[in-house]
Structure formats: C-alpha cells, structure tokens
Amino acid sequence: MSATAESVQERRAALKGLGTSRKRVEDARFTQGKGNYVDDIKLPDMLFGDFVRSQHAHARVKSIDTSAAMELPGVIAVLTAKDLEPLNLHWMPTLAGDKQMVLADGKVLFQGQEIAFVIAEDRYIAADAVDLVKVEFEELPVLVDPFKAELPDAPILREDIADEKEGAHGARRHPNHIFTWEQGDKAATESVLSEADVVAEEMVYYHRTHPCPMETCGSVASMDKVNGKLTLWGTFQAPHVVRTVASLLSGIAEHNIRVVSPDIGGGFGNKVGVYPGYVCSIVASIVTGKPVKWVEDRMENLSATAFARDYWMQGKIAATKDGKITGLWCHTTADHGAFDACADPTKYPAGFMSICTGSYDIPTAYLAVDGIYTNKAPGGVAYRCSFRVTEAAYFIERMIEVLAIKLNMDAAELRAKNFIRKDQFPYQSALGWEYDSGDYHTAWEKALESVGYSKLREEQAQRVEDFKAGKTRKLMGIGLCHFTEIVGAGPVKNCDILGMGMFDSCEIRIHPTGSALARLGTISQGQGHATTFAQILATEIGISADDITIEEGDTDTAPYGLGTYGSRSTPVAGAATAMAGRKIRAKAQMIAAYLLEVHDNDIEWEVDRFVVKGAPEKFKTMKEIAYASYNQAIPGVEPGLEAVSYYDPPNMTYPFGAYVCVMDVDVDTGVSDIRQFYALDDCGTRINPMIIEGQVHGGLTEALAIALGQEIAYDELGNIKTGTLMDFFIPTSWETPNYETDFTETPSPHHPIGAKGVGESPNVGGVPAFSNAINDAFRAFGLTHTHMPHDHWRIWKTANELGLHADS
C-alpha cells in the first residue's frame, strides 16, 4: 500500500497545484526585456497624441487658438471640446455615476485638466505643438478645502449640475456637495455615546495620495474603417468594462470593439478608471483613420489620473470603564476633487467604508459620509485596496489606540478584549456585513508571541526613562494593527459597476493530448495570474499546471468579467476557475465510467484520474479521458472537453491579519528607523506561498510610503506640489526594511477552494501599523494622534510641539 500512497503524493506534487511555491511562468519574458506593454506597441503609420493641460485650478476658458500648432509640420489635428461635442464625447460618464469632461468644456476645474488633444507624427512634434496652443483663461476663485465648500462665499465648481438637487446617490444639499451616505443606527449610536463610561474622540485624516504604478496609463487605438472594427490596447484593469463603456460612448457595436490589456506595469487601482486620454485616442483614430498612441508622462499621471483616499474621518468611540467597546460613530468628509470618479460598486458611494467596525464586536455603530467637490484632480480610486477598506481600517485602528490612551490600557489587550470571537462567525456587523470566517485571537496571540511583545514594552518603558534622563535622543514606537478586509466584490445582488454585476468568469478547453487553455475575465498587473490560476485548475482537473496556459485581457477571446482590483481575482475569478474545473471533471467522470465499463458512481477521483472503487488498478487518467473525449464516440455524451463558469459569489471574503511594527524615532531629526516589521496574514487557503509573500512585501512597502511620506499636496491656489518623483515619495531599496511574514489559515466557508485574496491586505494593515508606531513613540509624552504622512519634518514638528527639544 505504501507504494501507492507514495505515488499518489508524487503525482500530486507533479501537478504543482494548490499550496505549491511554483515559479512564475511570466518571468521568462520579463527578465529578458520581452514583456509587451502598451508603450511597446508599434503599428504602421501610428500617430501620437498629447494633451494641452490647464495651469489653473479653476478658470473659465475664454478661447483656444490652435492655429500656430496646426501650422507646425507633422501636426495632423488638434481636438477640443467643440470637436467632440457633435459626437457627444466632450463629457463621459464616470464609474461613480457622475460625469467628467473629456476636454475642457467652457471651464477648467483642476490643475492639469485636459483642454486640447494634439495629434502628430511623433511624440516630439506633439509636445512642441502642445506649447503652441494658446488658451485664454479667466481665473476664478479656487476651492481646495472641502470644509469650506458649503460656505456662503464658496465658488460653485460644477455649474453643469449646480441646480440638480438629486445626484447619483441621493439628495444634494449644495452645488458643491455630491452625496450623503449613511449606514447603521444613528439614534441608537448617539444614545450609547451619551450614556457611555468613556468616549474617545479624534479627527483622523487619511491624506490624498496616488497609486503611481511604475508604468503610467496609456492606450493605442486603431480604427479599421474597412472592417468597421476598433481595436483598443490600453492599461486597463477592467478591459471588458472598458469595451462596454467604449461601445456606449462611441455608438460602435460592442462586437466591433476589441479591447486588449497587454502586459501591465502595475496598477494598484490607477488603471481601473476610464480617462480622457483613452477617449481621445479613440476619437483621434476615428478622425485620422490611423492608429493613435497616447501615453501620459509621470507628471500627468500624478496630477491628473486617479488619486486615492483624501478622507477626513471624525470619530467617536464609546466603551465601558474596563474597555469593552459599546459604540462607534464616524462622520467622513470625502474630498473627491472636481468629478466623482471613484470606482466603487454603484450602491456604495463610499465603497466599503462601512467595514470600519474592523475586527471588533461593536454592537452599535453609525457612519455618514459626505462627498464634496473641490478644485483638485478627480478620482478616489482604491489604491491597493478594496474600495475604501484602507480608510476604514486606518480609522478604526487609530481610534482603538486613541481609546487605549483614554482608558490608560495596553492597546494589544484592548484589541483582544473586543475581537469578534471565533464562535461568533458568521458574524453580523452593526453596519450590515456578514463576516464569513475568522480566528482573530489565535492570530493575535501568535503575532504578539512572535515579536516578544511584553519584552518590547519593557524596552520601550526603559527607553522613555533613558530619554528623560538625557541618555538617548531616540524614542521607540510599537505599532500594532489587527485588520479585517472585505474583498472579492461581489455578489451581483448588491455589487455592480454602471449596472454590470460583479461576477467573474473562466472558460476552459482541454486539448486532445491532455493539456489545457483557460481564459478569465480578469487581468494580471504583476500578481502572477498565469501562474496561480493554473495551480487552482491543476488541483481541480489533475493536469499539471505546466500544461495549462492562462489567458486574460483580450475581450475577443476572454469571457466577460469585471477585471482585477479590490483583491477580487482570486475570490471571484479564482472561484469561477474552480467551478469550471469541476464541470470538466463531471463530464470526465461520465467518460471515464464509459471507458471503464462501470457506473458513474462506481468510480472516484484521485489526484489526476478516476479510479474504480475497490479496484485501484483500474483507472483512467485525465489525459486519457481528454483524448477519448475527442476521439471516441460515447453514447449520450457530446464530443470535446470544455466548460465555462460565470461565478456570482454568495458573499464577500474577509481576509485578516495581525501586524507589528517596531520603530526608533530620532526626536531631533525626525528620522524614523524601522527596526522590525512582522506581518501575519490569514488569506484562507494559500494557493502559492511564494507569490503571497511577494504580495505582502510589496503591499507593505506601499503602506510604508503612504504612512511615512507619500502625498498629493496642493497649495491654496490649487497648484499641485508633488507632481514628480522628486517630491512624491516612493521608497527605494535603501529605506525599505526586510519584513518577517507569517500566516494562519482560516479558509472561507463559501469559496469553492476556501481562498480569500491577499494582494491588498498588507497595504490595508500596513498603514495603521506604521502610523501607530510613530504615534506610539510619543504616547508617553502626551500625544494622542498626529496626522500622516509622518515624514521627518512632521515628526520633528510633533516632537517640537510636545516640548521635547531643548529650545522648544
């Protein structure tokens, strides 16, 4: 028997299926410089587009003179809103139910806004022509502070909808107000607050930042007038949605549009939205009859496409004297910029902000979010985050710390006291979510033990003594975080984007010789889908992952899907893959039974074959079955071995994690030094541990960037102050630490393979951990809360305000 057992194991290992740290199949081309990104696409007669942009944050456009630009040799055309208007393309819908100018229609509302699109024979000529377009402006008062948006003297930004009292998400109370979104029980929460032993209050600001993938956004449009077919290559995280939107906008039938996402150089939410550049490249190709490429430069990327966050979260948290939380209240002012262009599911104008009760059993809660227009770039995308979960996690993980200070309690103990217990799952939260599974106490204890938490606290206390005694100028901060994510949008009954339900899909073809091709509705931007989806399938259908090709991103061949963001690929498309695999297996079972001359029920699945029960020497492998499916007439069974699954998840998944960050903070220079970072993630079933670890490293580094310096900042005139990589902080290898990763494994009960998604967890959990460490370093000196980003200057300033400098 042992020989058979061994060979089962060997066969299982040969599949390279679930749980294997399989090396990535993508890497051969990327390491040799043979990736194919949008800017690598070169077509015969291709033209280049470039934008004339606004230098003002708010101004009327009096006139646009394109004559000098048109005279420049090599310039083909210059498009303005006037040219787009007859096509009804001067405005476009945003994914959030608002609309956005494609090219300035009478006025500009943020610095960097698109005014005209120059089309020329090469990118240098296009750039020269941009300089030759003369725009006459009349400057208007600028609104940058969302708290001033509804004051009597506030300028009205969106004159196009100034009189509309109803927006896409209900009543609007002012022309600069977009929506109010409320969740939970307001009256009950207020009464809990008024009766509580202790209430801690804080304004928690999650500043404006930007996903800034290494590759900027771009597209190449090619209108084939002979066949009436438009092909659009672009940096799209959701190619199918882009096709539908392009069809609705242009009037070209959907079957005549092919959208292709080639290799994508990182997305992180930046490439979910639809941008004026994409629309203009399409129009330009239709107008000129030639392929037109548009690729934004870094400054355009940072100043015009898809910012993230910018949430002012006013919080109140109530508790008993001994630290049992009784209620949570939050009012958020959301700065959306000039157009509401976030990419949340339609029914959630503030995304999943209502997960802000976090990992805690909070019986009563209330959340209100007010969306506001300002003279800043539009967006509000989920930067490595599932629709505002990052904001929610930061809010609750700061509020817990603030409450711990008020209660004079240890913040780790306060968390443990309030965690949702294992036996409470599935858990119904006060703000309406059903958490599918979790085991927070186990993860938390493991984390605290791994870092030697109590020793760290002792060391910290000693450090404070030494500091007071003048023996050191460095303080020590311990940043804790226990986060709960909500990912995998989502059930079609409550999640859609522009009316399109957020299912996802997989289509599998088994070839006669037993290899396979699977196509999905998602698109990798570095997550390694070609590697991991093949692993899911290998385990389901018993064909080695090495013999399975994964394809995504071409709408002519891939099944319809909503794309990759919000950690939804594994929870949704991964589930579709498993389900399609199971359909293959069900058909294979019928074929195997016929070939083995037994009843369907007399055979069982074993790794890569069907075996006759009780007669292990009689079996048919998936390879043999595949061959037979094409080459043998089987009564009552259609030839071939293919399957499709469109998967509508019954619920979201709820990955969680426990992070600890230990920092030294130099009081005199404001320099922070990350001594240790421990990250325990529970993403349910682990498909490829190597890739999970890589995702955690990357997400933590983006969290480090956000917490310690990265921001999109404006001055009072609406000038962007952080428009280049000189000012916009991206950590280098020099300031990035090594991370310790760890895990627990609590499978999702409703996902076919129990997987929950992981890509965004480290960003969601990392930001509070870094920020809490900085705040914690100063706790002994009376600091309750200080805003991110904690760059050296701000840390120095905090120390100064606390009187920790000799001369302060």
Binding site: Q32, V295, H697, T701, S733
Partner: protein
C-alpha cells in the same frame, strides 16, 4: 529640427540611428532601434526603468541625448543572456521571485549587472545602496536584494550554487 546621424554599438552590434540633438537615448532605443526592454517610468531620472550600460557605466537613458551616445557601446537587458542561456541574474530573479509586474525589471537587472561587475562580493547593504536609483512599486525590494545576492554567490562559487 534637423537630424544627425549617430553610429553606436548596441548589444555587440554596430547600428546607425538618426536623431535630433534633443532626442533622448531611451526614445531612440525604443522607437528606432526597437529595443523595448528598457522602459520609461518618469523621463526625469528618478525611476531607473530606462537604465542601460554605456561604456561600462550604468546610465539612465532618459537623461542622455542620443547624440551623446555617438561611438559608445551600449548594453541593454536584451544583451544580457539569451533564451537558451539566461544570465545568472535573470535566473536568480526568476528563482527568488525578484519581480512582479516586470516593468522595473530590465532596468533593475541591468543596474545589478554593473553593480556586480564593480563589486563582485557585495554585502546586503552594498546591494541596497547600489540599486537605490531603481524604483520598484511591486516587490518591496526584499526579493530583488535576495536575487542579486544569490547571483553574486553563484558567480563567486559556481559549485555551491543554491
């Protein structure tokens, strides 16, 4: 603007290009010579995605005019190893998951190559300092550093390779 003829050697081959004096080397490489391994992440010398070697030095090719490359020897990612025999750095990046989206990778490997030429025995600190001109948004650098260290190890001790 009038174009000038430039003779240069790219990845061991003599080539000729025509460029205006203001044209950047990265654009000439990518658009005329169809060498698309080096990428553009900023065009302002910050990201390193465009890194190539010029006469034995790492340069950011968005910060060099093409005419400055007249008579120079340029090596890009395409010149390091080939499909049948990858460069040890390419092998190690694959083995240690030193890349995700792959956009920074050509510049990163090209830079690491020069680093190891100059310092075949780097410490982790040397590597972290030596590649700090190349940004990566995906990996958090941990596995990149591991890959470079592993490549150095293999170059120095081909026997004890991991």
């Amino acid at each position: 603007m009038s174009k000038q003829k430039i003779n240069l050697n790219v990845n061991g081959q003599s080539v000729t290009a025509e460029a205006e004096p203001r044209e950047l080397l990265i654009h000439v490489l990518r658009e005329q010579l169809e060498i698309t391994g080096p990428h553009i992440g900023c065009e302002t010398t910050h990201c390193g995605a465009c890194t190539v070697e010029m006469d034995g030095m790492s340069v950011k090719s968005c910060t060099i005019f093409a005419v400055q490359a007249q008579g120079k020897e340029i090596t890009t990612i395409e010149g390091l190893g080939d499909p049948d025999k990858l460069h040890v750095l390419q092998e190690k990046f694959k083995e240690h998951h030193g890349l995700q989206c792959g956009f920074c990778t050509p510049g990163m490997i090209t830079r690491a190559h020069r680093l190891l030429e100059e310092n075949p025995n780097p410490t982790e600190e040397d590597v972290r300092f030596g590649i700090a001109g190349n940004l990566c948004r995906c990996t958090g650098y941990q596995n990149i550093v591991k890959s470079v260290m592993a490549a150095a190890e293999e170059i120095n001790n081909p026997e004890s390779a991991t």
